[in-house]
Symmetry: C2
Subunit: 496 residues, 2 copies
């Protein structure tokens, strides 16, 4: 038997597995955040490791994905101390333990271990360990100024991506089921809609007005789709916005809630960036609180609010943890949802515990609070500075306009590129924004995602970059980028 050589396989017509005989939905799904440009970046990184000299020195800078700790962001000490103790409880018995761990860390780890039979090594209930759901609910109640959250409405997950898969998997019955999706969108949504055979019903965010969400646009899309026989089932809102970085106003959110009730849509609220807001005067309003405060008008709203430990100031992407809170979930559907979750047994317990701590961090007066607050503030201040610096630099570039990054971890500049670039892109068989991002990677080592990966208004071109390069590098990044951009514009203006 030859192992993984295509030659051997080519021989056989009856070969049991080929791209032609796999699921059409899988073939159709696209996920640009980890697409062709990222794969090319991986190749370049390999070449660098092998000692090859490249124009931009010795490192690839991954701005394609919000993966802060990969770029050197330091984890929250309290979280990691508790997780370490939960994975190796014997340390608590060690005479040196109290020299390594603050009292509240030891207390917290004991609390989780006492409440989770078998600790981090045992399956929990499929919905999640009760204590983790209780800590999450308590955190939501605190966040929402005392509006009660019920642990029975919390579903722990291996990250918000898994929550999205679970909900769409359950909701969608086929291509006649459509889901209102913002454009530009986070590609998880288009990919999941393709996998579960639903239809992406686009609503275009208003780039001229800081990517505003316009309900007249949503309404006309719903009416059009319904007139064509589609069942519009849900509205996806990402707030703060990915990839746009915009933050919704409470007024706008009230209108969105009323719209969902009126049109009988499930509201899928992607709120994973709720801790990432950088603009004075803007704050995060949870759809949960907005809906509850609307009272009777929102009585019928079915709301799925998703959160994750991957973003915020904690950035625990690799841990894969998160939750969704579902309001007004009928009991029979809840039973189906728990059954569906049970087929994957449960989400990883280390991640469940970290999610519980995200929503129930050290409190004032506790031994770890001071360090926790310092770590949080330091990181959020730094992200704020980087967002400002990056967007300012982008807006200085010829043919580039970029809305303010009010929140989240991204900037989404629009590119007006010379006809020569469009021509060259066409010849290469790629959209011009892909062509631009590819050229950017090859000459600077900076990895970004073309706007086409997020979908965008016709005849507009963008790219998305994270604001995550470390503060001591970001100036150099903007310089590299500006230098590349100037050369690119020069080259293709002449060639047009």
């Amino acid at each position: 038997m030859t192992v993984s050589t295509d030659e051997a396989l080519a021989k056989s017509d009856a070969f049991p597995l080929s791209e032609k005989n796999i699921s059409a939905q899988v073939r159709a799904a696209q996920y640009a955040v980890r697409g062709e440009i990222v794969i090319r970046a991986g190749e370049l990184e390999e070449e660098l490791k092998k000692g090859k000299k490249l124009p931009y020195g010795d490192s690839i800078l991954y701005c394609n994905i919000g993966n802060p700790q990969q770029l050197g962001q330091v984890p929250i000490t309290f979280f990691r101390q508790v997780l370490a103790l939960c994975d190796y409880p014997e340390m608590m018995a060690n005479p040196h333990a109290d020299k390594i761990f603050p009292k509240d860390v030891l207390k917290r780890a004991k609390e989780y271990l006492a409440a989770i039979p078998g600790g981090t090594g045992a399956y929990t209930s499929s919905q999640g360990a009760p204590i983790c759901r209780e800590h999450v609910a308590a955190g939501i109640t605190h966040r929402d100024h005392g509006i009660k959250s019920d642990p029975g409405n919390i579903f722990m997950s291996d990250g918000a991506s898994q929550s999205v898969h679970t909900i769409l998997r359950m909701l969608l019955r086929g291509t006649q089921d459509a889901v209102l999706t913002p454009i530009p969108q986070y590609p998880l949504y288009s990919a999941a809609l393709a996998l579960y055979n639903g239809t992406l019903l686009p609503y275009y965010l208003d780039e001229q007005n800081q990517w505003a969400l316009r309900l007249d646009e949503c309404k006309s899309q719903v009416d059009k789709a319904r007139s064509e026989g589609q069942n519009v089932r849900a509205l996806i809102v990402i707030n703060p916005g990915n990839p746009t970085g915009s933050v919704l106003s409470e007024e706008n959110q009230k209108e969105i809630v009323k719209f969902c009730v009126r049109e009988s849509l499930v509201l899928l609220a992607d709120e994973v960036y709720q801790d990432n807001i950088y603009i004075a005067g803007k704050t995060f309003h949870s759809f949960k609180r907005v809906a509850v405060e609307l009272g009777k008008e929102a009585e019928q709203l079915v709301l799925v609010s998703m959160h994750s430990i991957s973003k915020g100031f904690y950035g625990e992407c690799g841990r894969r943890g998160g939750y969704m809170e579902i309001i007004n979930l009928p009991a029979d559907v809840k039973a189906q949802l728990i059954k569906l979750s049970s087929i994957n047994l449960c989400s990883n317990v280390n991640g469940q515990i970290c999610t519980a701590m995200m929503m129930n961090p050290p409190k004032e007066g506790e031994e770890s609070y001071e360090l926790f607050a310092k770590e949080r503030q330091g990181l959020l201040d730094s992200l704020k500075r980087r967002a400002k610096l990056l967007v300012t630099a982008l807006n200085k570039l010829e043919g580039v306009t970029c809305n303010e990054a009010e929140g989240a971890l991204y900037a989404m500049p629009q590119l007006k590129l010379p006809a020569g670039a469009a021509k060259a892109a066409e010849e290469s068989g790629k959209p011009v924004d892909f062509f631009y991002c590819k050229a950017l990677l090859e000459s600077t080592g900076i990895v970004t995602v073309p706007g086409s990966g997020f979908k965008q208004a016709e005849n507009t071109y963008h790219f998305r970059t994270t604001i995550l390069p470390p503060e001591d590098q970001i100036e150099e990044v903007t310089e590299r980028l500006s230098k590349f951009h100037a050369e690119f514009m020069k080259k293709y203006s002449n060639s047009s």
Copy 2:
């Protein structure tokens, strides 16, 4: 807005979410291992917590699922020490670190942290961190007597369940695609086939002959299905068997490989119990080695071998880690598989590291080896004793016959129950094995899974129990069970 009350919802006809308007595949999927009886057990546990007196004292004994650490199994020290250091590397700088951690533990943790940019808090590549795939491949090579495993063929996962979902999700195009599945089977397979809209093509294991896998049976099922226009795509083999506990002979495995090549079927080998064999003279033969040693005859075999950290002697269920090794995966399909994985970003890094250690444990001469070997041997010896004790006790029961538990973590006794029980079950609208397991739970607190949850030959009835109750309890468990069984048989013999 009222939170999660069905009354409010009932009001609205246009309610956006009800059991009637969700995915039919989700409604169809069943997963008995966490089904109705387990839910009832949870209710009883709540009542016990509230101080209610129940006939069997104060505890529910979960024998429905292989969740060893929940039942008190102690984790492997080396694994937990390394994981704790990877989650909180600052400990390594602490002057007391070397008083807590052996040198090879510190060395191993440093090795993983140096190779994984961002450590356990950062996304890895979607296929898995290279160092984890390398350690897994090295472990496979060692297991298979030097037959090389390529890290490029390894796909890290959040447990074997996720691997099964990924492969079936990719493979299946619709109900015309059928997958040969052993009966009895592990319900993950029937559930995933329902979710991905494939057809379960049963092949019946020969209970009279220690649940033997008969290729004449497989062949006739394939011919029948193909004559009816089905595309038979793959053969699922679980070895050691779940729920049967039987272990395949190498001869039988060779025939299975040749059959898959002849019939152009992907071989899906569920090998998560490869470390769990309790019978003198029986050993685990990986399908990888069997196929490679067949040489030319197996040149065309597409093999997916799945493994997990949840079982074996480590039992790290809650960590959610595992891998699949895929042999002869065409490059274009591999690209599709990586894209599909990338939509979930990556599997949790803590679990990836634990999986790497499972396949690359401490070696002789290393400081941790002695303790590791002692922990492993102690656990496997204990499981062997428990398997023997449980099966012996089951075979003493009136109307009960149970094949030897040669491997895995389960016994699957057949029940011949009185007509009175069949009648009572029918009146309750449930299969008689469900009726039996429910009665067992109510009067003993022992949670098992009815054979109907795994599917079984017509007019046969079984239940599955794990062999995992702690050694100091297992005698009492068998006594409780025997007492219940005698009363059950007496009651329904009279009433018939």
